[in-house]
Amino acid sequence: MAQTEQLVQLLIYGIQLGVIYALIALGYTMVYGIINLINFAHGDFVMIGAFTAFFAVNLAGVGFFPAILAAMLFPAVLSIIIERLAYRPLRDKPRLSALITAIGVSIFLENFPRMVPFIGPNFKRFPELITMRHFYVLGQASINSIQISNIVASGVLLALLIFLVQYTKMGRAMRAVAYNKDAAALMGINVNRVISLTFFIGAALAGAGGVLYSLTYPMIDVLMGGWLGTKAFIAAVFGGIGSIPGAVLGGLLMGIIEVFATAVYSELGYGSGFIVLIFVLLFRPSGLLGKAPLDKV
């Protein structure tokens, strides 16, 4: 392959990975933006989403759209319950108590399904929901149907999210709560509802991310969310945590950098992503699109 074809091919691979990071990073960023909590259990909703789709397809025989819908709904509802039981009582407590609770929730979510007989610790193959086809874009560089569906699905979800946040009443309420919870409450906004909704949306995006991830890398297991979640969290911070465009940009760049770094030197491939991250943060301490916190004197 010629040089440019190679580059284009790597770029496609990078974007394929990046859009998934971006979807999961969005959930982190939204929850963080609203209640300043790093939801360590967020990655596990990716796993739950993937398993939901897995069972929906294998047991009910549904297709791509119902599967992804189920995979968004179930984790979303579950996350509202978890928020209600585990995070809400701690909202006025030190921020880090909620963080430790989130770690506990994550340990639980990763280990409980392992003990459920029909899930278990084993890897499972994710069903093929989209027929694999290759389209040549430039010489031998190709893009396949799964990559296209990832990009399209992420794009649609992102557009929906932006519409929801920017142009609906609920979105306005969310932005108000993110800006100042107490003032928003005084304005008659039901803060609890807004927070629940944020968790709902975040987990739904994670569930969708889980489906897309599992379509691309068709293998699922109960621990798949851990490291993926961490990567997405890093992507969110990289882009500027709390910022929706930041999460998208951060996720995409993470994916692309990772793929290119691996192509250049695979022994340190995944470490090099971190090195780039550190350098970016040193020059832009609030991430790529994050706003520097104004210390009002």
Binding site: Q9, L10, G120, N144, Y217, M219, A263
Partner: protein, 377 residues
């Protein structure tokens, strides 16, 4: 203060709970029951249970003419070195086991083995392929083959049978097994006159995207691709390699030896060959008996973990009987003298406490493995 006393009381109860009847044989099994390697633990458990059912259906063992009750104690090590050290300590000090079987990987075996060695408790580790494990001391044995042997086996297979001289390697540089096989494959392949033209790595089992690596491998002039990785990593890798347009023959190690690989690779494993200790097509009566019993019990084909665990327990059980006492040194010597007909052949240990057994090379054909050849050490 009252709370404090309660806590102290609870701890005291735990501390004192180690008292056991003396005329009982206890064997400790250390496996990853939770954590990332839990599925291996589950497979190992099937092998242990099957062996137990055959050897001691009434849960007894005859030692020196006396029939003693046998207790199997499972301990979880989460596939972590520190937890393995704790599990070993618990089994040795609190449960006062006679022998230990497991763990399943090199990095955990290396943390546990020194404890058993210094306590004089014989150990048969299940699947640690790093040569250093049994070098810890004379109480430490293993049921599997070591990296240098298996790496060499695959290098010879590639050079002599596939008749290729240029190889590519994709390995997990976070995994000791993968790294070990890569090292010895590269070495032997070069000694034979071939050359590893490209070595690509990835940083751990969490990685699921190998496209960048395959992009480089595709651009190289390799004639065979060696992927000495775990079955789930390789299952994905086979798919991605084929999807990226790589048509090279694929070869691997016994990490591939489980029927689960096919469920993940989904057809892309066709023609891929690997080395392992045991082919379920093997015609020896022991092997056939084992495969049938396994199928009857679990409705599945046994994988390497199950076979090796089955053999580990058999070796230990027979050695305790042969030693005729519960003395650690006597059992150790009995294990060293093992000569047993087991599913993967007649098992004997060499002076480094590694089993002397041949490797078989099998190939995936139509979703099933089929026997290709046997390579002797």
């Amino acid at each position: 203060m009252r709370k404090f006393l309660v806590v102290v009381g609870i701890i005291a109860v735990f501390l004192c709970s180690g008292a056991f009847a003396a005329d009982e044989v206890r064997i400790g099994i250390v496996l990853p029951i939770s954590g990332q390697a839990a599925m291996y633990g589950a497979y190992c458990k099937t092998g242990i249970e099957l062996a137990l059912k055959e050897l001691a259906p009434d849960n007894t063992i005859t030692v020196g003419g006396k029939k003693l009750p046998l207790t199997i104690i499972y301990e979880d090590n989460e596939n972590k070195p520190e937890i393995t050290a704790n599990a070993y300590r618990k089994l040795i000090d609190q449960d006062e086991v006679t022998a230990i079987i497991g763990p399943e990987s090199s990095s955990t075996a290396l943390a546990g083995a020194p404890i058993a060695q210094s306590s004089g408790i014989p150990v048969v580790t299940i699947f640690p392929t790093n040569p250093k494990v049994t070098q810890v001391g004379d109480y430490i044995f293993r049921a599997c083959f070591i990296d240098p042997f298996q790496g060499a086996v695959m290098a010879k297979y590639a050079y002599n049978d596939l008749k290729v001289t240029k190889a590519a390697v994709l390995y997990n540089n976070g995994n000791d097994f993968s790294k070990g096989l890569t090292e010895f494959f590269t070495k032997t392949f070069a000694e034979l006159g071939g050359k590893v033209v490209i070595t690509e790595a990835y940083g751990g089992s969490d990685i699921r995207d190998f496209n960048a690596q395959f992009n480089n491998i595709k651009a190289s002039d390799a004639q065979v691709l060696f992927m000495p990785n775990t079955y789930f990593e390789s299952g994905l890798q086979m798919q991605q390699a084929r999807s990226a347009g790589i048509t090279l023959p694929l070869i691997g190690g016994d990490g591939w030896d489980t029927p689960d690989l096919v469920t993940i690779s989904n057809g892309s494993e066709e023609g891929a060959a690997y080395s392992c200790a045991f082919s379920h097509e093997a015609t020896t009566p022991q092997a056939q008996k084992f495969v049938q019993a396994y199928r009857a019990a679990y409705n599945d084909v046994p994988n390497s973990n199950a076979v090796l665990s089955y053999e580990s327990l058999s070796i230990v059980y027979r050695a305790i009987e042969a030693a005729g006492s519960l003395d650690g040194a006597a059992i150790r010597d009995a294990i060293a003298k093992t000569k047993l007909e087991l599913p993967s052949g007649v098992i004997e240990f060499d002076s480094d406490r590694n089993p002397k057994k041949p490797a078989v090379i099998v190939m995936y054909k139509g979703g099933k493995t089929s026997y290709v050849t046997t390579v002797n050490p």
